[in-house]
């Protein structure tokens, strides 16, 4: 649409099939590091000089969430160049900052498009944007809007309330990060399978069938650990102990106890080794889930890691020893 600063693209406020496909790909971690839109100024509906300006990042998943939330509104959308990173992480990295926002304000000639001097920033960008620096840099006042884009319509109509200001971590939000955890874990998973294959070469009986049956137990323990740590753990998080590695280990233990059901003929040492690996892997993956939560502090995570990692390393070594010892004891069927 035409405006004082030249033509400004008007956005769709409903998803196309391509948008949905892109969202699925990003959620699966397939190209989430290159899922970007061009930074700049966009129109939602038919905004005028008095319409509010909402600021967001140029990660397309974020950009889509914001524009779809604004369906039926007349709003300007200013997209900052965060190199395709979401607002929260870009704030921490320094790309969603007073300098980054004011750069887009100047590039787009926003002061000639709108008559007011007010930008609505996502609250989760406040770790990167110092409001008073933004005013100094471009003359626009920064107002922190809601945490979630879905609250924008209510915010625009009624202003802020406490519920809009607090981060959440609902079942739905926790479930949404499971696919990416699983897909990004395929390389370590292949590594674990390879190590399991090498360990399975050692044992009583060297026939292909014997090696294969031993490898199946190790691979089964690995998959159980992955399931407990990367699927069950996020889903059950609010009901688990506050120490991530302990909760993960507990779930891993529950998973490990099912191993004899799958492999009734394996030696008990082999099963104990595979089971201990399930516990250690589940615990490790749970510890890594700290990066997906909105409430763990770096100080807390580092403290837990310093305690948990030596224990997990020892458990992994013991698991390998038990596994091989069991395979030599004859229970290779």
């Amino acid at each position: 649409m035409p405006a004082a600063a030249g033509r400004i693209p008007r956005l769709r406020t409903g998803p196309t099939a391509l948008d949905r496909l892109g969202t699925c790909r990003a959620r699966l971690g397939l190209d989430r590091n290159h899922y970007t839109v061009n930074p700049g100024l966009y129109a939602v509906g038919a905004p005028g000089p008095d319409s509010p300006v909402v600021v967001t990042a140029n990660y397309k998943l974020t950009f889509d969430t914001v524009r779809f939330a604004l369906a039926g509104r007349d709003v300007w959308l200013l997209v900052v160049d965060t190199r395709g990173i979401n607002v929260w992480c870009a704030g921490g990295k320094g790309t969603f900052s007073a300098a980054g926002v004011s750069e887009q304000v100047k590039k787009t000639g926003l002061e000639r498009v709108v008559s007011h001097r007010r930008l609505i920033l996502p609250q989760l960008g406040a770790n990167g944007v110092r409001a008073r620096d933004l005013r100094k840099a471009c003359g626009f006042e920064a107002v922190f809007g809601p945490v979630r884009a879905e609250d924008l319509p209510r915010y625009l109509d009624h202003g802020i309330d406490e519920a809009m200001r607090e981060v959440t971590f609902s079942l739905r939000e926790r479930a949404a990060v499971i696919p990416v955890e699983l897909v990004l874990g395929w390389k370590p998973l292949l590594g674990a399978f390879a190590v399991a294959a090498v360990l399975s070469l050692m044992g009583h009986g060297f026939s292909l069938a014997a090696v294969w049956s031993r490898w199946l137990v190790a691979a089964g323990g690995t998959l159980l650990g992955l399931f407990c740590g990367s699927v069950l753990f996020p889903l059950l998080l609010p009901r688990l102990p506050r120490v991530f590695s302990l909760g993960g280990a507990g779930l891993g233990l529950a998973g490990a106890l099912t191993l004899p059901l799958f492999f009734p003929l394996a030696a008990w040492q082999t099963l104990a080794g595979a089971g201990l690996w399930t516990v250690a892997l589940s615990s490790w993956l749970s510890l890594n889930f700290t990066g997906s939560t909105p409430y763990t502090s770096p100080s807390g995570v580092e403290k837990e890691m310093r305690r948990a990692i030596p224990v997990l390393a020892a458990c992994t070594l013991l698991a390998a020893i038990l596994f091989v010892a069991g395979n030599f004891s004859g229970g290779s069927a």
Partner: protein, 91 residues
């Protein structure tokens, strides 16, 4: 978020009441609702909820609040432990 808690007594959040001018920006930006302004001064209501994002300290006009900001992410912390890879990313 009251039901989500990690380790206690670890956050680097520090608040100097003397320096506070009661502007309330900390209360506005905190995603865990740790601050509230009462009688012209900010109060720390729930220190244990701090995840050290740094939004309050960055926006505090008088440096009454300080915190060592960072991301509470195991992958990222491992990267900072490795030599020569400081400042790489996870999200």
């Amino acid at each position: 978020m009251k039901r989500y808690r990690h380790l206690e007594n670890v956050a680097t959040l520090a608040y100097d009441r003397e320096k506070c001018v009661g502007c309330g920006l900390c209360a506005t930006v905190c995603p865990h609702r740790i601050f509230a302004v009462r009688d012209g001064k900010a109060e720390v209501l729930d220190r244990e909820a701090c995840m050290e994002c740094g939004a309050c300290a960055l926006n505090c006009p008088t440096s009454a609040i300080t915190v060592t900001p960072g991301v509470g992410c195991a992958q990222y912390i491992i990267q900072t432990w490795l030599p020569g890879k400081r400042g790489t990313s996870c999200c």
